[in-house]
């Protein structure tokens, strides 16, 4: 068997340039953290010590193909491997595959329909059985098994004719060219065929509670409601792991989570990280490293464009001009998030930095509405053609910061002659039919638009993704722009990153102009860890801070 370094990659000149550009920006944001290489070279020879990661939600789904939430990802990244891995610069690296396929190296055919992958030959499952292309085939087929409660099927549903050429080679045909699939595969962890094929019902398999993977950590034990423990896999094919035990500790109350970070009970604060109100104090804690790390989540004042009030662009422009973003970010969020004009995270290669900048100007907002014919009624609320400029705004109840934002905006909008009523709902109600079927007037929502680092946002912005109109996606603003549709279709078929960048720049430009939502800010996570933990690198392209726990080690 060959032993290859886990970071083997095939950088093109373009990839290298992209890495330099984005890496530079990330370096400014996280100077203390990015000094270390992704996979540490000065770690102890043998796995030593333990890291306790505090989480605000309990990881409960350990079969990575089953429907799950963000917090489960830390376990999946540690116990399993995907074919590819996405690094902090957004570059896709090989993991179980030997190289990243593209049209130049012949891994993907010119028309984007035929994929051929070469796999590592030195990988073993935690039970000692060898990993092979059969496992990859089994995994891809399980995802689209109609009886299996699989997570995302988008992309996978296009895969046809999977052929195992040899234990280390596999090919398939795509029903249509779909460039984002490579990114989807960075979040598709491979499961063992030899264990799961024996299960009559994979939804209730014993494997789901004691998973067997190929990853740097093996399953240890779970104390439900408290913590779960992973142990180092000494036979891991790549670098690491360097710690003996990785523990995920569940602490639901965020104040208590922070307190336990302060008291030293947890070594590292994971999702949902340190709350903004503790950021100022956290920075001053001795022997702790606290850093702001950009996330992909983006907060917006999200509109239902089918409501008569919001059909008029002038109204959307006026409301946007009436939002004092700076006051919200500095006054309510302790300066933690960063203002933005787009849904694309600023660390992305596809982020357009040239979009028009928002300016808070109440007078201008009033003028826009006057010009558009929205006149003040006797009750102090503007109307036009019998439509009152009145609407409700909803967000998840029990989020005091968002509730303050609502009250702040309610007062500002009132000065314009716009009535905003507040009607908040519990999360389990808010993000159900109410959100998915566009039953709201407007909401304040923090959402991620990308899967991995791929810029494809068809699911959120294409007109055929409007669920309320029978579409199959989550374009809940009911935004429809034929040019955006055409660009998104083209972008999904285009594999060249430079060509895609032009496409998604234009999408951002159009969306910024049309304002289906009013951008507020891009989230930053306040990540905290004990001094002495080396190898920790934040990665905004994954949903977990523990994406590279294999590289962590304690300074001796």
């Amino acid at each position: 068997m060959t032993k290859r370094p886990a970071t083997t990659s095939n950088y093109s000149r373009r990839d290298a340039l992209r890495m330099m550009a984005i890496g530079g920006a990330a370096g400014v944001i996280a100077p203390n953290l990015l000094g270390e290489p992704v996979l540490a070279r000065t770690a102890p020879a043998k796995p030593t010590g333990r890291v306790i990661v505090g989480l605000g939600q309990e990881p409960t789904v350990f079969n990575p193909l089953m429907v799950h939430i963000e917090v489960d990802d830390g376990v999946h990244f540690s116990v399993f491997d995907a074919l590819f891995r996405i690094d902090p610069q957004g570059v896709i690296q090989p993991n179980l595959a030997v190289e990243v396929p593209n049209q130049k190296n012949g891994g993907i055919s010119e028309d984007g329909l035929k994929w051929r992958l070469r796999l590592r030959d030195d990988v073993r499952w935690h039970d000692g059985k060898p990993f092979s292309a059969e496992d990859v085939k089994f995994t891809l087929e399980l995802i689209t098994n109609p009886n299996f409660r699989s997570w995302r099927t988008a992309g996978h549903a296009l895969v046809r004719d999977i052929t195992v050429i040899s234990p280390t080679e596999i090919s398939w045909r795509m029903e249509e060219a779909f460039a984002p699939y490579l990114s989807f595969l960075t979040e598709t962890f491979i499961v063992p065929k030899h264990i799961l094929e024996k299960e009559a019902n994979p939804n209730n398999a014993a494997f789901n509670q004691a998973p067997v993977g190929t990853g740097p950590f093996k399953w240890g034990q779970r104390v439900a409601g408290d913590h779960l423990e992973l142990v180092a896999n000494p036979d891991y094919f790549g670098e690491g792991p360097h710690i003996e035990k990785l523990v995920f500790k569940y602490i639901p109350d965020l104040t208590v989570l922070y307190t336990q970070f302060k008291s030293g009970d947890v070594d590292l604060v994971g999702q949902p990280y340190i709350t903004p109100d503790h950021y100022g104090e956290a920075k001053t804690l001795p022997n702790r490293v606290v850093t702001l790390v950009p996330r992909t989540a983006f907060e917006s004042f999200y509109l239902n464009l089918e409501r008569p009030q919001f059909k008029d662009l002038a109204v959307r422009e006026a409301l946007y001009a009436a939002i004092d973003k700076e006051a919200i970010i500095q006054g309510l969020y302790y300066g933690v998030p960063s203002p933005t004009e787009t849904f694309m995270p600023r660390q992305s290669f596809y982020f357009d930095p040239n979009l028009p900048l928002h300016e808070f100007n109440l007078n201008r907002a009033g003028q826009i509405l006057d010009k558009a014919g929205w006149t003040l009624g006797s009750d102090g609320i503007r109307t036009r053609n019998g439509v009152r400029l009145s609407f409700t705004n909803s967000t998840t109840s029990g989020d005091p910061l968002r509730e303050q934002v609502q009250q702040f905006l309610q007062q500002t909008f009132a000065q314009l002659g716009v009535e905003m009523k507040i009607s908040n709902l519990p999360a389990a109600v808010m993000w159900g039919e109410f959100w998915m079927q566009s039953q709201f007037d407007s909401v304040i929502v923090g959402s991620t638009y990308l899967i991995g680092a791929d810029p494809d946002v068809t699911n959120r912005l294409h007109s055929r993704s409007i669920a309320a109109k029978g579409g199959r996606g989550s374009n809940n603003a009911q935004y429809a722009n034929p040019e955006v549709d055409a660009l998104l279709d083209k972008g999904a078929r285009t594999f060249d990153p430079e060509a895609r960048r032009a496409i998604y720049y234009r999408v951002q430009e159009l969306v910024r102009r049309d304002l289906p939502f009013l951008p507020l800010y891009q989230s930053n996570a306040v990540e905290g860890l004990k001094k002495g933990i080396n190898g920790f690198v934040p990665n905004g392209n994954t949903r977990t801070e523990s994406w590279n726990a294999l590289a962590w080690y304690w300074a001796s």
């Binding site: 099927t153 409601g225 602490i251 993000w431 159900g432």
Partner: protein, 316 residues
């Protein structure tokens, strides 16, 4: 006695059916549901949500879902958690021990300390001790438990460093001493409210017993005050407390929601909150039925114990 038991059993089954119908209906009529948590996932489409809904049987009429659930329950299958696919009984049993430990300790503390305060308050009525106990009980009942919890963590953990901030044990330790160390603060905080309740009830019951004829007779016979108290008063005062303990049995097992959250205690209370938050209907229903069974059992046991302790009461 057998007639009484049969009668109570049939009433209890009817009660459980009514509770389960109401619980199931209310839970399922709430908008949103268990799949709402995936609404913000960038890759989850409406089609994915519909597919999951079909796989979980959530798209069937409510009454069919109920009958299906009830039929399986009768056969001993309490269903599977929507969150992790584990069986509901397994999920409940994973959290049961933690709650038993915390609630058992705090209840023992509450009964011991509360009874002592109540008896002493009654025998030293209108003394400084009695006033302090009354005011203390009012404060303990009025102030939210989480506030006591946070104050306790601030003083005893962050400032003095005497006890851990929470958790049931230190990961990697788990010795008996370590368990006890972690148990101190949450059990004391949790027992505060119960001490207050027990002391107030005990004070009233003791006062009541002190005015009874048999106490006057004992005094007239020259029996010492200490002997009167221990032999005649406490025993009689404890009688109404048995009913109170029976009623408190379910809360003993379903846990203390807030305390378990503040002290990161992996018990049933937190499980209930989490399951509600995720709309994990099978687990919530499981906890509801479990709790209802405990209410029924608690009352039944209390009735039987009272009858055994007090021969004047005949169950038949």
């Amino acid at each position: 006695m057998p007639g009484f038991l049969l009668n109570r059993l049939s009433q209890s089954i009817l009660l459980l059916v009514i509770v389960s119908i109401i619980g199931f209906t209310v839970l399922n009529l709430m908008p949103g549901g268990p799949l709402a948590q995936y609404g913000l996932d960038p890759g989850m489409t409406q089609k994915d949500v519909q597919r999951l809904s079909e796989q979980l049987g959530l798209n069937r009429p409510l009454w069919i879902q109920y009958l299906d659930w009830a039929w399986r329950l009768v056969q001993g299958d309490w269903g599977h958690s929507y969150r992790d696919g584990s069986s509901v009984l397994e999920v409940i049993s994973r959290h049961l021990l933690a709650t038993l430990l915390l609630m058992g300790t705090s209840t023992a503390l509450a009964i011991g300390i509360g009874s002592w305060i109540g008896i002493r308050g009654a025998t030293h009525r209108y003394s400084l001790f009695d006033y302090c106990a009354t005011v203390g009980a009012m404060v303990a009942l009025s102030v939210p438990t989480f506030w006591f919890g946070l104050i306790g963590i601030y003083i005893f953990t962050l400032k003095l460093g005497w006890v851990p901030a929470g958790n049931m044990y230190a990961i990697g330790d788990g010795s008996v001493l370590d368990y006890l160390h972690h148990l101190i603060l949450p059990s004391l905080v949790l027992s505060l409210v119960h001490v207050a309740i027990w002391s107030r009830y005990m004070r009233t019951a003791t006062l009541d017993a002190l005015t009874q004829d048999f106490v006057k007779t004992a005094r007239a016979k020259g029996v010492s005050e200490r002997r009167i108290l221990l032999k005649h008063v406490v025993g009689n005062a404890l009688l109404p407390m048995i009913t109170l303990a029976g009623v408190q049995l379910p809360s003993l097992l379903t846990g203390a929601l807030v305390t378990e959250t503040v002290f990161t205690w992996p018990g049933m209370g937190r499980l209930f909150l989490d399951s509600l938050g995720y709309s994990d209907y099978p687990v919530v229903m499981g906890l509801l039925i479990f709790s209802a069974i405990l209410v029924v059992l608690g009352n039944l046991i209390a009735d039987i114990v009272v009858a055994v302790v007090d021969p004047r009461i005949r169950l038949s």
